[in-house]
Symmetry: C2
Subunit: 359 residues, 2 copies
């Protein structure tokens, strides 16, 4: 099952198959018997629902593809998986490089597997298209977790834009859920708007911090502390324990400055040492408490619905903007108007009106 297969989309195209749902790959293979058999959308859906990891990986590859034929097939698969999705807990983990995200996720993941859970680990990393995968790219960083049959680790999709990466990740979540993964962990690093993006696709958003070393003062973008459902101070071990305890008090105090969250949840601050596997169980207990509370007060469902609506509007707005600002007439005129604004010869509003009237 692990051998490489080439998707013969060109063939499908030639045959003019009207809908991927009725793609009959056996027919194709009869015609071109030397070609390897390509799984149909239906095959992949069935595989995913059976928990077949190869089917899942292939489907995600289709989701991540830029080939329009692949995307059409991907959409069919997502549609088929949708009724079986939405039944996991989605956890976002963020923190500056060096805070120990991979070690933390591995420790948390292994704990969850010991509780008979199925874990999928994804990443949203807008920098990965430039750096060729800076987080999760090297699977050996979670060497133990990757060996677990109940864990599935998938590096960040590369993409031209955070919006593109976000969409692919959202759709990958659906596929993983349909494949039976009950806990989805999404890792991100504070680049661009990635935390906001991840925050808007998870149920619980966890901020990893370090004590001391000036980390309180730097490296974390404005607004992230406010989004956090919990702050976990990692590497609270050895000489660091005392400083970590001080940092805990300081963060708890800072969190108190914020008004109550809509979830009614007060974000706690806790300590852990992912390396020594200390405090990981407590983190999970904390997440469980959150889930019980927000499922009881209905915030859990409400948040997911709002996230869906957010993504719908976000996608539409993104496309409208893209179409406008990439318009051949607008592009040069926008530059001219910006110059006029800079020279105090027009206002932003007059310039906007002028540009909008052009198309």
């Amino acid at each position: 099952m692990q051998k490489k297969q080439k998707y013969n989309s060109a063939l499908e195209e030639k045959k003019g198959i009207p809908s991927p749902e009725i793609t009959d790959d056996s027919a194709i293979s009869k015609v071109v018997s030397k070609r390897k058999k390509q799984p149909s959308a239906r095959d992949l859906i069935k595989g995913i629902l059976d928990g077949n990891i190869t089917s899942l990986s292939r489907a995600i590859t289709l989701v991540e593809s830029k080939n329009p034929k692949h995307l059409e097939k991907a959409n069919t698969i997502i549609k088929g998986c949708l009724p079986y999705a939405n039944n996991s807990v989605r956890i976002g983990v963020t923190g500056v490089p060096g805070v120990g995200k991979s070690t933390f996720i591995e420790a948390l993941g292994k704990h969850l597997i010991s509780l008979n859970k199925k874990i999928a680990v994804l990443a949203v990393d807008p920098s990965s298209s430039i750096t060729k995968g800076s987080i999760l790219g090297d699977k050996t960083r979670m060497a133990d977790l990757v060996k677990e049959p109940n864990a599935y680790i998938r590096p960040s999709a590369s993409g031209d834009s955070l919006g593109g990466v976000a969409r692919k990740t959202r759709e990958t979540i659906i596929l993983c859920e349909a494949a039976g993964f009950d806990t989805i962990i999404i890792e991100t690093v504070g680049v661009g708007q990635s935390e906001t993006t991840v925050h808007s696709m998870v149920d619980f958003f966890l901020l990893l911090k370090l004590s001391g070393a000036g980390d309180e003062l730097q490296g974390i973008k404005r607004g992230i502390i406010e989004m956090a459902d919990a702050i976990v101070i990692n590497k609270a071990d050895g000489d660091n324990v005392k400083r970590a305890k001080l940092a805990k008090v300081e963060f708890a105090r800072a969190l108190h400055l914020y008004p109550e969250k809509e979830s009614s949840w007060s974000p706690p601050v806790s300590l852990c040492s992912a390396l020594n596997n200390e405090g990981i169980e407590d983190v999970w207990h904390m997440i469980m408490e959150y889930l019980i509370m927000t499922k009881n007060n209905n915030f859990f469902t409400k948040k997911r619905q709002e996230q869906n609506k957010f993504w719908l509007l976000q996608t539409i707005e993104g496309q409208l903007k893209f179409d406008f600002f990439n318009n051949k007439i607008i592009k040069p005129e926008l530059q001219k108007q910006l110059k006029l604004i800079e020279d105090n010869k027009t206002t932003p509003f007059a310039a906007a009106e002028y540009l909008l009237k052009l198309i």
Copy 2:
């Protein structure tokens, strides 16, 4: 000059005057000699540049008008004033109701007038269209300042949307600056997105707070502390002084949790009693320090340019969205797609694609 004048825009329309710039009101008044003379755009520009308050008020009324003819005239006036604008200091003041914004602005304003400055006080209050002006609506709240010839107080423009109010306020700033006001104070209260809006049109953003009474924990929306260039704890008088000093320490500590601002400015926390006129001079010194620093490191100019660009893009995006979501075809279809998403029958992305293809 104070007598009421009715703008005879209907007449202008009949005559089909091609551009407000060449509006010859004397010609109109000859034709309809019984009509009161209406100042032309050119008259108003001249009046504003001469520092005539009546001209300024009339021009602002045109800016705030919903009559398209008035807006055309307003745009001409703004264009004429633009070369003389941009030379003031713009200060935003926010804080929950009861924090003493009016008293604070009055005390600061009077101090600035004693330094021979000319002060304009505006407001952005998205709630005012509903409550009919909740801030600055009652000018008697700044009874002393309103008497000063070098102070100009203008209540919040009412509007259907925060975007509309924001635009009117931005344009009013230009007119006030052209009229020679060197310090523009913009008041807002934490409703909707109003602080973000005000933050994006001022050079210095000041958050007023109270000590004790649980104010640290409630009432201020997430993100506002992060936007503040200074936190000023008001009502630090009488029995409150001790609590105010404690609050100062707590806020200073909280501010330290944030990373350095792009301006390189560390937002200070200071105490004042606007009622007793204590600490007001210190606040102004602090703002002066900020101005010296950001003008030296060029952040001041950079921020204004970014704000202009922000407003250009904001206006365009707002209009694109408005046009799309108010489209007669889209409106009912959007509701259908939202229901399908809720029932797990489609994804936000597939729904967005479907809707975008409709027009």
